[in-house]
C-alpha cells in the first residue's frame, strides 16, 4: 500500500514545469479544500481565506493511506497553516507537509497560483 506514496513528491515553485489548470476559484469552498485529479495523482487544494493564500498537498493521508485530506479541516498551529485529516485528526503543515502532532512521514506539498480566477497546481511532469 505504501507504493501509493511513491508518486507524491514535494514540488517547489522552482521545480514547476507544468502549471495544471485545475478549476475555477468559485468551484472551491472558501476556507476549505477540494480534490483535484491530475493524471494518476489526487491533490488536495485548499483556499485558506484568512491568510488569502492557497495550498496544495497529496490527498492521501500517510497514516492509513486513505484519499481524504481534501475533506479535512484547515486551521493553524502557532501560525503554521495546517490541515487535520478527517479520519484520526492527524495534522500536517500546509507549508512543508510536516506531521505536527506525531511522527508520521511528511506529506508532499505543491505550489498553487491563481490567474484570472483560475486555480493552477504546479507539477514537474
Amino acid at each position: 500500500m505504501e507504493e501509493i506514496l511513491e508518486i507524491y513528491k514535494t514540488i517547489t515553485a522552482e521545480d514547476v514545469k507544468i502549471w495544471f489548470k485545475a478549476a475555477k476559484v468559485s468551484d472551491f469552498p472558501k476556507s476549505g479544500g477540494a480534490c483535484v485529479k491530475y493524471k494518476e495523482k489526487q491533490i488536495a487544494v485548499f483556499n485558506f481565506e484568512r491568510k488569502n493564500t492557497w495550498y496544495a498537498c497529496q490527498n492521501v493521508c500517510p497514516h492509513k493511506m486513505e484519499m481524504v485530506l481534501s475533506r479535512g479541516m484547515t486551521g493553524d498551529q502557532n501560525g503554521i497553516p495546517k490541515v487535520a485529516c478527517p479520519m484520526h485528526k492527524k495534522t500536517f503543515s500546509l507549508e512543508n507537509g510536516k506531521n505536527l502532532n506525531g511522527d508520521l512521514a511528511p506529506i508532499a506539498t505543491y505550489p498553487v497560483k491563481i490567474e484570472d480566477d483560475i486555480v493552477y497546481v504546479g507539477f514537474s511532469e
Partner: protein, 838 residues
C-alpha cells in the same frame, strides 16, 4: 568522527539510537545500523494488534525518514555474520566490511523451539516477527477455507497468551497448552492463574495446563499434539511461544565471553569482555540473567549511551525490576516485586471475587511495615499506586488489607494519599525511566506548562501508557502548587472554556465564526474550535450543519460518518426503532441498489456502509422520497431513543414505551450538543431498552415514569442516576428540556453527560436543585430555548438535496465527475467490506 556500529534494529537497538541522537555529543559520531528484518524497528510488544487492523507502519518505532534525518545509515535485510575484533570490523553476509570504534550488539533473541519431534511439520510456526505473523495469517486462511479451525499455542506465558489472542483474532479456536500447572507461571500464583484462566475461557479460548507434549502428530502437516500422559489434542496449527533464546551466535564466534545457556556477558556499564563492544537488550547476560522485558532493555540502552559519550557515569542498577502491567485478551493482569514469595517472613493477603473475576494478592512483611510484591488479575487499576508503595518502601496503612480492599472508612482518600507525597526519585514511568522529580521539574523549571508538553519533553507515558493517569495528576498538582491556573481553555485560539464562549456568542449575537475569532480569539482557528463554535451556534440558533460549512466537523460537512476507507455510512432516522414492513422493504431496496454493506445498529436502526461521497445525495434522495429523514448519526447530537415493546404488546409492560420513545426522539432530533446524546424508554423495570446506559432513560413504574440521567455505555460504562420518580409524560418532557439545555450550555467540548455530572459540583443533588427546584431561576429560560430549537427543526439532508450549491460538496474531484479510483472492497459473508489496512 568516531564510528558506532549497531547490530540489530529492534526496539532496544532503536532506543539506543534515539537516546544517542538526543545527546549533545551525537554529531561527534557516525552511525551505521544493521537490521536483519526487512523493515525499520517496530513495537514487538503490541504485535498482536497487527491482526486487529494495525499496519506495520503503525507499529513502527519511528517515521520513515527518521534515520535519514539524523544521518544514520540504516541497512535493513542485512545480516552481520562476522566480527573481527582485531581489525575492528564487521562483515555482512555478502562479505562487505564496515569498521567501528564502538560496536553495539542489540541482536535480541529468537523464539525458543523446544526439541519436540515433529516441530518441522507444516503448520508449525513461531511468534516473533511481522513475517511470522504474515505466515500464520496465510496458513490460517488456508485452514479456514478447508473448514479447519483448531489451533494450539505452546506456552502459557506472557507471549504465549499474546499469541493465543492473535490466533483468536484470526477467527480460529485457540488452545493454550502450558507445561507448568498454571498460566504465566513466573508472574502469577495458582489463584491468579485460575482467575485468568476462567476469564479467558469465558471469551472462548481453551486452556490446557500441566501438559507436556511428547511429539507432534501428522503426516507432513500437523494433525495434533500427543502428550506424555497419553492424551492428545487434535489441532490443525501450532504456534510455539515457549520462551526466547538470545541471538548470540556472531558474538560467541568472535570469542566474546558468553553464559552457559547463552547470552553475552556484560558488566554494569553494558560492556562485554571487549572494551569496544557493548551488548544491550535480550542478548545481554547481566547478573547471569536474560531480561525479556522492554523496560530493562531501554535502561541498558541508556546506560550504553552515557558510557560511550562519557556525559554522565550512568550504571545499570543491580536489582532489575520485573514488574509488569498489561492487558491480556481483554483481562488486566499485573504483577510486581516478589509476587510469588512463599517464605515464612511474609504474610499474603488475598482477595478473590469470582463473580466479577477479580483476584488480588499482596505480600506484606511479617512486621506489617513493607509491601514486598503482589498480583492483580481482572482489575489492575491500583497497580500504579501499589507499585509506588512497593518501590519506594512507603510505610503501610494500619490495616494493610485496605491496599486491595480500598479504604472503607468512607473518607474517600486514595491509596497513596497525595501523589505529591511521593519521593522525587519515585519512578513513575518505568518504560522510559522517568521519575517524579523529572516530571515535576520539567514544569518547575519553566520548560513545560501542559500535560502534552511534559509527555513530549520527558517521554513519560509514551511506552505502555499505564502511568498516564499518575503523570496527569502530578502535572495538575505541580501547576497548582506554582499558582498556575489549570484552565480548561478550548485550544490555542481561544482563552475561554466552552461555557464562557457559549455565553459570549449568545450575548453578542454572533452569527459567523470569523466574528467570534476576530473579537475573542487569535490566529486562524483549528479543528477543535471551529466545530465547537458551529455546535454552539447550532444550539443557540437552531442552525443545521449546512450553515457555514467550512467550520463544520468533517462528518457534519458531508452529513455522514466517514468510515475506514474514506467512504461513508448512511443512517436514516427510525424513531423508537418502530418501522413498517413497507419502509423496511424500502431500506432493503436502497441497500441493494447501491450495493451497501447493511447492518442493524445498537440504536435500533439500519446502517448502510460503503457509500462513496458522490453516492450520498442519490441515496438520500431515494430515502427522503420514501419518507425518511436524517438520523444525525454523524453529528454530536441526539442519536436515538431506544425502546422496548412496552404495554402495547408486552404482557409485563406498565406503559407505552414505544409511543413515548417516538415522542421523545421526534422532540429532540437534530439537537446539537457538546457530544452525542442517546436516550431509552423501558416499559417496566425489566429494562429491556437498557435505558439506564443512556444520557437519559425513562422507565415505567407504578404511578408514572422514573427519569434517569447521565448514563452511558462505551469505554467507561456508567448507569444513569435517578432525577425524578413517578412523574407523568409532560413532567418528563419538562425536566428533560431543562436538563438537556443546561447540559448544552455548561458542558466542556466533547464531554458526555456522565462525565459532565461527575465534574458538576454537588452532583445529582445539585442537578435536581437546578432542574426541579429551580434554585438558579433558570428553568423558564431553559424551556424557552429548548422549545425554539424544537420548533425550528429542519432535516438537513432534505435541505441539502434541494440546494445545488450544497450538492457540489459531494463530488470526489473538483475537476472530474469520476469517483475515487482508490477504493478496494473485498467480499465478506455475502456482503462487502473495505480492504484491510496494510
Amino acid at each position: 568522527m568516531k564510528k558506532v556500529v549497531v547490530i540489530g534494529n529492534g526496539m532496544v537497538g532503536y532506543k539506543f539510537c534515539e537516546k544517542f541522537v538526543a545527546s549533545e555529543k551525537f554529531n561527534e559520531y557516525k552511525f551505521t545500523v544493521f537490521g536483519e528484518e526487512p523493515r525499520r524497528a517496530y513495537d514487538r510488544v503490541h504485535l498482536s494488534e497487527f491482526y486487529a487492523g494495525k499496519t506495520a507502519e503503525d507499529l513502527s518505532m519511528s517515521s520513515a525518514t527518521w534515520y535519514e534525518e539524523n544521518n544514520i545509515d540504516l541497512h535493513t535485510s542485512e545480516m552481520i555474520t562476522e566480527i573481527d575484533r582485531e581489525e575492528k570490523t564487521v562483515a555482512n553476509h555478502r562479505g562487505t566490511k564496515y569498521s567501528y570504534d564502538y560496536l553495539i550488539l542489540a541482536t535480541g533473541s529468537s523464539a525458543f523451539v523446544p526439541p519436540i519431534p515433529g516441530v518441522e511439520k507444516e503448520g508449525v510456526f513461531v511468534y516473533r516477527t511481522i513475517e511470522d505473523l504474515e505466515a500464520i495469517e496465510t496458513y490460517a486462511k488456508k485452514l479456514k477455507s478447508e473448514g479447519k479451525t483448531q489451533a494450539a499455542v505452546l506456552g502459557g506465558g506472557l507471549l504465549g497468551l499474546e499469541a493465543a489472542n492473535a490466533v483468536k483474532e484470526l477467527g480460529l479456536d485457540a488452545h493454550v497448552v502450558e507445561f507448568a500447572p498454571r498460566l504465566m507461571p513466573r508472574q502469577l500464583d495458582q489463584g491468579g492463574s485460575d482467575m485468568l484462566q476462567a476469564k479467558i475461557e469465558s471469551l472462548g479460548l481453551k486452556v490446557h495446563v500441566s501438559k507436556q507434549t511428547d511429539f507432534i502428530q501428522g503426516n507432513g502437516a500437523i494433525e495434533g499434539l500427543q502428550y506424555v500422559d497419553g492424551t492428545e489434542l487434535k489441532v490443525d496449527m501450532l504456534v510455539i511461544s515457549a520462551g526466547i533464546r538470545p541471538r548470540d551466535e556472531v558474538a560467541k564466534e568472535c570469542g566474546l565471553e558468553a553464559g552457559l545457556r547463552g547470552g553475552i556477558v556484560v558488566d554494569n556499564r553494558m560492556k562485554t569482555s571487549d572494551d569496544s563492544i557493548y551488548a544491550i537488550g535480550e542478548v545481554a547476560l547481566y547478573n547471569n540473567m536474560i531480561y525479556g522485558l522492554v523496560a530493562p532493555g531501554y535502561d541498558m540502552a541508556s546506560v550504553a549511551v552515557s558510557q560511550i559519550t562519557g556525559e554522565i557515569d550512568n550504571l545499570m542498577i543491580d536489582h532489575i525490576d520485573m514488574s509488569t502491567q498489561l492487558k491480556l485478551i481483554g483481562t488486566e493482569v499485573a504483577s510486581f516485586g516478589d509476587a510469588l514469595c512463599d517464605s515464612d517472613d511474609v504474610d499474603a493477603i488475598v482477595y478473590e471475587n469470582k463473580r466479577s473475576g477479580i483476584y488480588k494478592r499482596i505480600n506484606i512483611s511479617k512486621d506489617g511495615t513493607k509491601l514486598l510484591g503482589g498480583i492483580l488479575v481482572g482489575d489492575s487499576s491500583d497497580y500504579n499506586a501499589l507499585f509506588q508503595i512497593y518501590d519506594t518502601a512507603m510505610k503501610l496503612p494500619e490495616n494493610p488489607e485496605d491496599l486491595i480492599l480500598g479504604n472503607r472508612s468512607g473518607d474517600g482518600g486514595s491509596l497513596l494519599g497525595d501523589v505529591m507525597d511521593l519521593p522525587d526519585d519515585a519512578q513513575i514511568c518505568s518504560c522510559e525511566s522517568v521519575s517524579k522529580g523529572a516530571i515535576c521539574g520539567a514544569i518547575e523549571n519553566g520548560s513545560c506548562d501542559t500535560l502534552g508538553d511534559v509527555i513530549s519533553c520527558t517521554k513519560a507515558g509514551t511506552g505502555c501508557g499505564g502511568c498516564k493517569p499518575m503523570v496527569k495528576d502530578l502535572v495538575d498538582a505541580t501547576l497548582k502548587s506554582l499558582g498556575k491556573e489549570v484552565k480548561d481553555t478550548i485550544c490555542e485560539h481561544f482563552e475561554y472554556n466552552r461555557q464562557e464562549l457559549y455565553d459570549i456568542v449568545k450575548l453578542k449575537g454572533y452569527r459567523k465564526y470569523n466574528e467570534v475569532l476576530d473579537t475573542h480569539g487569535k490566529g486562524d482557528g483549528c479543528e477543535v474550535c471551529k466545530p465547537l463554535v458551529a455546535s454552539i451556534m447550532a444550539s443557540i440558533y437552531a442552525d443545521t450543519a449546512n450553515e457555514e460549512v467550512s467550520i463544520q466537523d468533517s462528518n457534519d460537512r458531508f452529513l455522514a460518518n466517514i468510515q475506514r476507507n474514506g467512504t461513508y455510512s448512511v443512517v436514516p432516522r427510525i424513531p423508537g426503532g418502530e418501522i413498517t414492513p413497507e419502509k423496511l422493504i424500502v431500506l432493503g431496496e436502497v441497500g441493494k441498489k447501491y450495493d451497501l454493506y447493511t447492518k442493524i445498529t445498537g440504536g435500533q436502526r439500519v446502517d448502510f456502509f460503503g457509500a462513496r461521497l458522490d453516492q450520498l445525495p442519490k441515496i438520500w434522495k431515494d430515502l427522503i422520497d420514501h419518507g425518511f429523514e436524517s438520523g444525525h448519526a454523524y453529528g454530536k447530537s441526539l442519536r436515538t431513543v431506544k425502546s422496548c415493546v412496552g404495554s402495547t404488546w408486552c404482557r409485563y409492560g406498565m406503559d407505552e414505551s414505544v409511543s413515548f420513545a417516538i415522542a421523545l426522539e421526534e422532540r429532540y432530533k437534530g439537537l446539537r450538543s457538546p457530544h452525542k446524546i442517546k436516550g431509552g424508554v423501558s416499559g417496566c423495570i425489566r429494562e429491556c431498552a437498557e435505558a439506564r446506559c443512556k444520557d437519559f432513560g425513562v422507565i415505567a413504574v407504578e404511578g408514572g415514569w422514573n427519569l434517569y440521567v447521565c448514563g452511558n455505555g462505551g469505554a467507561n460504562p456508567k448507569h444513569a442516576e435517578l432525577l425524578a420518580e413517578q412523574i407523568d409524560n409532560e413532567t418528563v418532557i419538562k425536566y428533560l428540556d431543562r436538563f438537556l439545555m443546561f447540559y448544552i450550555r455548561t458542558a466542556a467540548p466533547l464531554q458526555r453527560t456522565a462525565k459532565w455530572l461527575d465534574k458538576l459540583d454537588g452532583g445529582i443533588e445539585y442537578l435536581k436543585e437546578v432542574v426541579i427546584q429551580d434554585t438558579l431561576g433558570l428553568v423558564d429560560d431553559l424551556e424557552v430555548e429548548m422549545s425554539k430549537l424544537v420548533d425550528n427543526f429542519q432535516c438537513e439532508w432534505t435541505q441539502a438535496i434541494e440546494n445545488e450549491e450544497i450538492m457540489k460538496r459531494f463530488n470526489h474531484f473538483v475537476n472530474s465527475e469520476e469517483p475515487d479510483d482508490n477504493l478496494v472492497f473485498v467480499p465478506l459473508r455475502d456482503q462487502k467490506m473495505p480492504e484491510h489496512w496494510k
